[in-house]
């Protein structure tokens, strides 16, 4: 049975742990073994610390033996995207700049996972500094899609999605600035949730675009996602943008919310560029909800087409400032034999950053530079207001919005060479970040080529419980989540 442990959901494993049918050490060993056997092909991990993981697992088993088990996450190996700080572990953002950086502190989500008893496991690959949609922008390696190793897992949290789909973790955390959790979740056939901005602390998350970034869970099932979200959500005094709000028992709420719901279908999300197989899968999902008594309404998000433009102004502007600290002075890559400070800055940053990061720093610096601020940044913030308004208007009529997560299934590695084409992958996910809303991707089928397809559900601010319940209703009517790639 332990051969299959690595594909089981938290809900089942926590039962086995509670019943002492398995130990956390046994489970963690299974995950380590699985990772050792397949990660040279999936390439989801930048690094992992087996000894540290097993020590945490032992501690969990001792707690349980002492009758002090801490709930569903206790003893469960949870993988972390390599932008989330873990004290004493590497923190690289998949960048040459931080190749040798070791974090002296824990992110708040790391603290909370540890308090929940989870086994904090592995450093998962990403597009350098979370800038990308394919995980090809990693300075170390391109992660492969477990369903087709010649294809991308999506990004930027490609390692988090791929490792989970491949059975190298039981759940993982990623970060989502423009779709970086939902899009790879869709492309790898797992559940991915981007919480409302402010629900989960950003303290200890390497910043890409501060006003858009959120940490969220990847999980095998919606119920697992609810469990992990419950473990990491909640106000944090170390994050001034984290919100004071009551955190419900998301898992318990699932049962209390049977629906039916009023679901909005934004016509702007079903236009050109949408793969017909993806469109068909989403249509089926819509039909399913209708069959369960949900009211399906067409809604309009008229400013959708501006999303990508607004996003690439705001996100790059913020990143150009957030990444200024990587200068080779206090930590990180330092160019050899610098003649003076200027030389040290210019060469350390030139050598430490990859092409996509440089491109975005250049764009962000430009849109903030003297004479352009009003035309770009200020204007983008105003259009951002209109995009938020679109959603809030829609929520007068509907409980949630339903769209494809990604216009296409996983594409071939190297297929999208020009940046704009890559940026347009995020067209369906970006609006959610600009509006600060919760968004979730749940598997809703497979392409004829056997590639997973994701359904995106967009909820109302801080109504994750409702959003999870809506996704849960769909998941219980389907068995997509029971399928696994064979590696």
């Amino acid at each position: 049975m332990s051969a299959e442990l690595h594909f089981k959901p938290i809900t089942e494993l926590s039962g086995l742990l509670a019943a002492r049918k398995i130990s956390s050490v046994e489970l963690t060993r299974a995950i380590v073994a699985r990772t050792r056997s397949i990660d040279d092909r999936v390439k989801a991990f930048n690094s992992f610390d087996e000894g540290d993981a097993l020590a945490q697992a032992e501690a969990s088993d001792h707690r349980r033996a002492a009758g002090q088990a801490r709930g569903a996450l206790d003893g469960i190996p949870v993988g972390l995207k390599d932008v989330i700080a873990v004290a004493g572990q590497p923190l690289t953002a998949s960048s040459r700049m931080l190749a040798n950086f070791v974090s002296p502190y824990d992110a708040t989500v790391t603290q909370r996972l540890k308090q929940a008893g989870a086994v904090v496991w592995g450093r998962l690959n990403l597009d350098e500094f979370a800038m990308g949609s394919s995980t090809e922008n990693s300075a170390f390696k391109a992660t492969c899609n477990p369903w087709d190793l010649t294809r991308v897992p999506g990004g930027s949290s490609g390692g988090s999605a791929a490792s989970l789909a491949a059975g190298e973790a039981i759940a993982t955390l990623g970060s989502d600035t423009g779709g970086s959790i939902r899009q790879p979740a869709a492309l790898c056939g797992v559940v991915g949730l981007k919480p409302t901005y402010g629900l989960v602390s950003r303290y200890g998350l390497i910043a890409f675009a501060s006003s858009l970034d959120q940490i969220g869970p990847f999980a095998r099932t919606v119920e697992d996602a609810a469990i992990v979200l419950g473990g990491i959500a909640g106000h944090d005094p170390l994050d001034s943008t984290s919100f004071q709000t009551q955190i419900p028992d998301y898992r318990a709420e699932l049962a209390k919310r049977p629906g039916p719901w009023r679901l909005g279908i934004p016509k702007e999300y079903f236009g050109e560029g949408l793969d017909p197989e993806v469109a068909a899968a989403v249509e089926k999902a819509i039909a399913f909800y209708r069959s369960r008594g949900c009211a399906i309404k067409e809604v309009s998000l008229p400013h959708t087409e501006y999303g990508v433009g607004v996003y690439y102004i705001i996100a790059t502007a913020e990143c150009s400032s957030n990444l200024a600290r990587y200068d080779g002075v206090r930590y990180g890559h330092r160019a050899k034999g610098a003649a003076d400070m200027a030389d040290l800055y210019f060469r350390s940053r030139a050598e430490g950053f990859g092409a996509e990061v440089k491109r975005r720093i250049i764009l962000g610096t430009y849109v903030l530079s003297s004479g352009y601020y009003d035309a770009f940044y200020l204007r983008a913030q105003k259009v951002r207001t209109l995009i938020r308004q679109d959603f809030l208007n829609a929520y007068r009529e509907v409980d949630a919005i339903l769209t494809p997560t990604s216009p296409t299934p996983a594409f071939k590695q190297g297929a999208k060479s020009d940046p704009l084409a890559m940026y347009l992958c995020d067209v369906y996910t970006i609006g959610v970040n600009l509006a600060g809303l919760p968004g979730l991707s749940v598997p809703c089928g497979f392409s004829s080529g056997g590639l997973p397809i994701g359904l995106q559900l967009i909820g109302q601010p801080f109504k994750e419980a409702e959003l999870l319940a809506i996704a849960h209703a769909y998941e219980r009517g389907h068995d997509w989540h029971t399928r696994h790639p064979n590696l």
Binding site: P104, S240, D340
Partner: protein, 96 residues
């Protein structure tokens, strides 16, 4: 809104402290030209009287009381420093 043509890569790269090769300059200028061209459609939007969004859910006066807590031990603080001496970070001589 200004068009891609007046993106002065040298000036911007200088502000960003990035040494770019001639090849990178040429490539970035072209690629960002396309992105800026796409971005230009924002010009079409009427934003008169629209407030900018700085925070999705703004709240005021998020602070903490002035109570000092212990920080990092000096060796932890300098753990990742590329060069250090006398518990300080070494940089090339700064001429003011």
């Amino acid at each position: 809104m200004s068009s891609s043509t007046d993106l002065n890569i040298d000036h911007v790269a200088n502000l960003a402290r990035l040494a770019l090769t001639p090849e990178e300059k040429e490539r970035f200028a072209r690629q960002l030209g396309e992105v800026l061209h796409h971005i230009e459609q924002l010009r079409k939007v009427d934003v008169s009287g629209v407030e900018p969004t700085a925070h999705a859910f703004p709240v005021y006066n998020v602070w903490s009381e002035d109570v000092a807590r212990p920080g990092l031990p000096v060796d932890e603080a300098l753990r990742n420093a590329p060069a250090q001496r006398d518990h300080m970070v070494v940089v090339p001589k700064v001429v003011e």
